[in-house]
């Protein structure tokens, strides 16, 4: 399943890039998902990869699992929003540790060369996965092809309609920011979440315009191990320790998602498919975060505790 899933994700990235990069070149008002290569990105992507394993879902994974009625993810969602908001508020300090300007391959090279380079790296990665898994084994089925095609089309449609690629975690932070602002705990004009150039009413108006709360129900980039697709509403309570670990992971996941300039959707899918170099940096760092065995086992332990 993991082998087919990786190839399916690579196919999704390639198809989305095939649709998105020519659009970006043809319509200058469309924007790529450009994040700055930075210390913030390195730390954020690694922590995000680690914590999404513990929390058994990334940004959109938390959304749909909360909607499915999984208690832990219902608890994680508000903490993810809080973490995303605080991460946004701290982002300027993280960026002060070191950053370079965002690099967009379409801007630098044009759509054709950028797309060719993207496919070349994706094919190389796919061959690497096949060599690791064994050449004789099945590596793709129709469901993954159909899913990749559907998501690529929807991602391109998002770009055409909204003018910017698919994203998730900015909306989470906005929810918490609204509450903090209403409570008088946060001055939006003095912080990088909104920036001095954005009036306090701006994000509200933006949200009303439906411009930056793009949610998805599911995407294949979430957890490679541990409960992916197995989530069921639990009927037994987790221990206090399991709750504490899961909720803390959810908070850190939200915080790190802003440091990483996106999650599996905003940074990986949207970043790579629109030619942002930060998406290519995000992937190996987040993958490294998932390699911790204890983190990978956490969802399985939670699942066993539920059964």
């Amino acid at each position: 399943v993991i082998r087919k899933g990786v190839i399916g994700q690579l196919l999704l990235l390639g198809l989305a890039a095939t649709l998105s990069m020519p659009l970006l070149a043809a319509f200058p008002e469309l924007q790529a998902a450009l994040g700055p290569p930075s210390v913030s990105l390195l730390v954020g992507a690694f922590v995000f990869g680690l914590t999404m394993q513990i929390a058994d879902g990334c940004g959109s994974g938390t959304l749909y699992k909360a909607g499915m009625g999984v208690p832990l993810n219902m608890g994680i969602l508000p903490l993810f929003a809080l973490g995303s908001f605080i991460g946004s508020a701290h982002l300027d300090r993280w960026l002060a540790l070191g950053q370079t300007a965002p690099v967009g391959l379409v801007d630098q090279w044009g759509a054709g060369p950028a797309l060719a380079a993207t496919w070349a790296v994706l094919i190389a990665a796919g061959l690497g996965v096949r060599a690791w898994a064994g050449w004789g084994k099945a590596w793709l089925d129709k469901r993954w092809v159909r899913g990749a095609l559907a998501l690529a089309l929807l991602a391109a449609l998002n770009l055409v309609i909204a003018g910017q690629p698919w994203g998730v975690v900015y909306g989470f932070g906005l929810w918490a920011a609204k509450l903090a602002q209403a409570a008088g705990l946060f001055d939006p004009t003095a912080n990088c979440l909104l920036g001095p150039g954005r009036a306090p009413a701006a994000p509200v108006a933006d949200a009303a315009a439906g411009r930056h709360e793009h949610h998805q129900h599911r995407h294949p980039g979430r957890c490679a191990v541990g409960g992916g697709g197995q989530a069921q509403p639990s009927h037994k309570a987790l221990s206090a320790r399991q709750w504490a670990v899961g909720l803390a992971a959810g908070f850190l996941m939200g915080y790190s998602s802003r440091l990483a300039f996106g999650c599996n959707v905003g940074a990986m899918l949207s970043g790579i498919s629109t030619g942002s170099v930060h998406g290519w940096i995000w992937v190996p760092l987040a993958f490294a975060g998932t390699l911790d065995r204890r983190a990978r086992a956490a969802p399985l332990r939670l699942l066993k505790a539920d059964l």
Binding site: G69, M74, A162, Y170
Partner: protein, 54 residues
């Protein structure tokens, strides 16, 4: 907290937040709606994105 209490609390809080947001946010201005399709409109999107530092 038991699962039976988590689900009702979650949905109640979410509905309360949506209701509060609808009540306190600026009303929609239909005369300042963005174009239906950003592509070809000549207008760059003004909303935030998670990949952007601001």
């Amino acid at each position: 907290m038991t699962p039976r209490r988590v689900a009702p609390s979650f949905w109640l809080l979410l509905l309360a937040f949506v209701a509060w947001d609808l009540r306190h946010s600026a009303p929609l201005n239909l005369w300042r709606e963005p174009p239906l399709l950003a592509a070809g409109s000549g207008q760059a999107p003004s909303g935030g994105h998670c990949s952007a530092p601001k």
